[in-house]
C-alpha cells in the first residue's frame, strides 16, 4: 500500500503524535541526569525536582516588595496585554477588512496604505512607539496591534473580495443595498475566516508581547524570563516557556472549537 493512502485511526494518531514529544522529554531527562551525575549543582539542564523548587517560590510565595504571587501576576499582566492587543486587532481587521473587501473605492484608497504598513517590520517601530507612547502598557499593546493587524486586515479583505461575484449580484437582485450586502452577506462569511486569522496571528502576537516585555517592563511572562536569564535560572525559564506554549495551545483549541460551534456551515456538510 502506498504511503499516501495510509490513513491513521484516531487512537493511533494520538499515540503517534505523542511519540516524538515523549522521545524529546526522555532525551532531555537523559542529558540532564548525565550532567547532574557529573555536577550536582548544574544550572543549565535542571531536573524536574529543581524546576519544581525553583517555581514553587514564584507560584505560592508572595513577592516581598509587591505582595503578589509572581507567576500569577506575570500571567495576568501578559494575558491582559495580549487580550487587549488581539481584541483591538481583531475588531479593526473585521471592520477595515470588510469595508476594503466589499467597496472597491475604499479598496483603491486604503489598499496601498495597508500594504505599506504591512511590510514594515513591527519591531523596527518599537523605538518610535516607546518614544511616542512612553514605556507603559500602551506601547506594548500598540506593538501587538501594529504587528498583527495589517496581515489580518489583508487576509479578511482578500477573503471578502474573493466571495463569488454571483453571490453579490444575487443579493442585489434581491434588493440588497451596499450596507445590507456588507452586514448580511459579507460579514457572516468573513467571521469564520476572522477566527482563523486570529489563530494564525496568535504566534506573532506572542512574539511581539515577549519582545516588548523583554525590552521595557516590570511585570509579565516575557519580562520574568529575561530577568532570571541573568542568573542562568533555567529552572524558571523552562517552566515559563512551557506555560506560554500551553496558553498558546489552549487559545488555539478554544478558537477552533468556537468556530466549529458558531459557524457550522463553514466546516463541511456535517452540522
Amino acid at each position: 500500500m502506498r504511503w499516501v493512502n495510509r490513513q491513521v485511526r484516531r487512537s493511533d494518531r494520538i499515540l503517534l503524535g505523542s511519540l516524538p514529544i515523549l522521545m524529546l522529554l526522555l532525551l532531555y531527562m537523559f542529558f540532564a541526569a548525565q550532567r547532574h551525575a557529573l555536577n550536582p549543582a548544574d544550572k543549565i539542564l535542571p531536573l524536574p525536582a529543581g524546576m519544581a523548587s525553583g517555581m514553587s517560590a514564584l507560584l505560592f510565595q508572595p513577592d516581598q516588595l509587591t505582595g503578589q504571587l509572581t507567576f500569577w501576576a506575570d500571567t495576568l499582566a501578559s494575558l491582559q496585554r495580549l487580550g487587549l492587543g488581539l481584541g483591538i486587532s481583531t475588531l479593526t481587521a473585521l471592520i477595515v477588512g470588510l469595508v476594503l473587501g466589499v467597496l472597491p473605492p475604499v479598496r483603491a484608497t486604503l489598499g496601498p496604505l495597508v500594504t505599506g504598513i504591512a511590510v514594515i517590520p513591527p519591531i523596527a517601530l518599537l523605538p518610535i512607539l516607546f518614544i511616542a507612547l512612553g514605556l507603559g502598557e500602551t506601547a506594548k499593546v500598540a506593538l501587538i496591534v501594529i504587528g498583527i493587524t495589517p496581515v489580518m486586515v489583508r487576509d479578511i479583505a482578500a477573503h471578502v473580495a474573493d466571495l463569488p461575484r454571483e453571490q453579490i449580484v444575487k443579493a442585489q437582485t434581491l434588493g440588497a443595498s451596499s450596507w445590507q450586502i456588507m452586514i448580511r452577506v459579507a460579514l457572516p462569511q468573513a467571521m469564520p475566516r476572522l477566527l482563523h486569522a486570529v489563530r494564525l496571528a496568535l504566534g506573532p502576537a506572542w512574539v511581539f508581547l515577549i519582545s516588548a516585555e523583554a525590552i521595557a517592563s516590570d511585570i509579565g511572562l516575557g519580562y520574568r524570563i529575561f530577568l532570571v536569564r541573568r542568573y542562568l535560572s533555567m529552572d524558571v525559564i523552562i517552566p515559563y516557556v512551557a506555560w506560554i506554549a500551553g496558553l498558546a495551545i489552549m487559545m488555539d483549541i478554544a478558537l477552533a472549537f468556537l468556530s466549529q460551534r458558531l459557524f457550522p456551515w463553514a466546516h463541511g456538510a456535517r452540522h
Binding site: 449580484v169 444575487k170 437582485t173 456551515w265 456538510a269 452540522h271
Partner: protein
Amino acid sequence: MSALLSLRGIWVEYGDKIVLEKVDLDVDAGSFVSIIGPSGAGKSSLLRIILGQEVPTRGSIFLDDAPLTPECGPDRGVVFQRYSVFPHLSVLQNTVFGLECTAAPFTARLFGSARRAAEKDAIEMLDSVGLGDSIHLYPAQMSGGMQQRLAIAQALIKRPRILLLDEPFGALDPGIRADMHALILRLWRDYSLTIIMVTHDIREAFTLGTRLIALDKRRIDPHAPHRFGASAVYDLPLKPNKGPLEEEIITADIIQENETRIGYE
C-alpha cells in the same frame, strides 16, 4: 414600444475584441426565451447586460419603456449555474433574505409578526419549488438540484419582472434536469413569468422556450477573428402556448434520456 424588455443596438467590446454587435431584441411579457450559441458567442455577456451587471459599450436597454440603470435591481431576478445561494444561511433564511432587504433597510432583519409573515410567504414559495420539507438545511447539505430549486425560490419571492437563468441546469445530472424542466415550466405558467434562459443544451432550449434565439458571428475575418462580434442569427418562434402537452413531451424526454443512459452503461 409594447415589449416588456427592449434592447436597441447593443454592442459589447472588451478592449479591441468585439463580443456582441448590433443586437436588437424585443421580449414580450410572458415569453420564455431560450438563448443558445457556441462558447464565446456572448450568451452570458448578453445576460449580464440585461441583468445590469455589465454596461454595454453602445446601445440602450428599456424595461417597460424606461431606460434601465446599469445596476442589478429587484426587477430582474437571476439564477446562475452555481454560487447563487448563500452558504451561511439556511434554506428558509436564504428565501426570507429578499423580503428582509426591502422591509428593513438598516438591519436587513425582520422580527416578530413581520418575520412570521415573511416566513409564511417564504415557506409557501419553498413548497411550490418542492423544498417544503428542507427549510432548515444549509446549502452545503443539499444536492445541486435542491440548491437550484432554492435559488429559484429565492429569486421568485421578489416577483421579478424578468427571470434570467444562466445555464441553470448545466451542472445537474439528466434525471434531475428533467425534473427541473418540469418545475420551471410549472412556475412559468403559475406565476406568469417572463424568462430568459441561456443554455448549452439545444434540446433544453427547444423544449422549454416559446422563442429561441441563436447567437453567432455572421461574418468571420480569418486574419482578425476577434473583430467581428456575434448577433442573433436565428430568432425562431416556438409553440406559442404550452399546454398539458408539455408534460408529455418532458416525460417522453425523460424516458428517452434514461434509455440512452441505460444503452451506454
